[in-house]
């Protein structure tokens, strides 16, 4: 059974550009969350989606947006990239039940130059 799949693995973008990151959750999991991890720090919550609806949003600017598709996969979009957006972006998959754990994908390493 496949785990959480993220693509692409690595990405280099120029300031001002736009980027789309993709995540496929574990089969049967309906909740996807996105986290940003800057080098040397713990991950920071960006979004949570459950059953295609946004359930939570972290303290990130409106340049960050996301959506979840009927098959529960998700996209994270970042507009007008800044150097400070350089980070590891992690997608977490969960079933949504009371005792659930969060399984993280391998992440997308975004470098903004």
């Amino acid at each position: 059974d496949a785990g959480v799949t993220q693509s692409p693995t690595h990405l280099i973008k120029t300031r001002g550009q736009h980027v789309t990151l993709r995540c496929s959750p574990i089969s049967g999991h309906k909740s996807v969350s996105w986290y940003q991890q800057v080098l040397g720090q713990g991950p920071q919550f960006i979004f949570q989606y459950y059953e295609k609806e946004e359930r939570g949003r972290g303290n990130f600017p409106d340049r960050f947006s996301a959506r979840q598709f009927p098959n529960y996969s998700s996209e994270l979009n970042v507009n007008a990239l800044l150097l400070g957006d350089s980070a590891l972006y992690l997608c977490a998959s969960s079933s949504g039940s009371r005792n659930y754990g969060y399984t993280f994908g391998s992440g997308t390493r975004l470098t903004v130059v």
Partner: protein
Amino acid sequence: ELKVEQNPLFLSMQEGKNYTIYCNYSTTSDRLYWYRQDPGKSLESLFVLLSNGAVKQEGRLMASLDTKARLSTLHITAAVHDLSATYFCAVVLTTGTASKLTFGTGTRLQVTL
């Protein structure tokens, strides 16, 4: 706002020694997670602690949770080099329909021969 603090931030220990990493959090929560992260890699789930007094063990690692003290510990017994990594605790905060993980600062563990 939920704050999660870990100490120490960096731990250098010899193989065969024992040590404990501490995780304190500021707001009531009934779920706490421990993750391991190797350099440049994603987060690997170690433990999910769901209730007060919960204790879980896997190999040389043992985690416990005291919800009244808002404290979790990760105890390392007879450390080996393969345990070298960064360890994060993460606490769930549920507000309305959203659940998000708030991570600690991380503890970088280096096990030396």
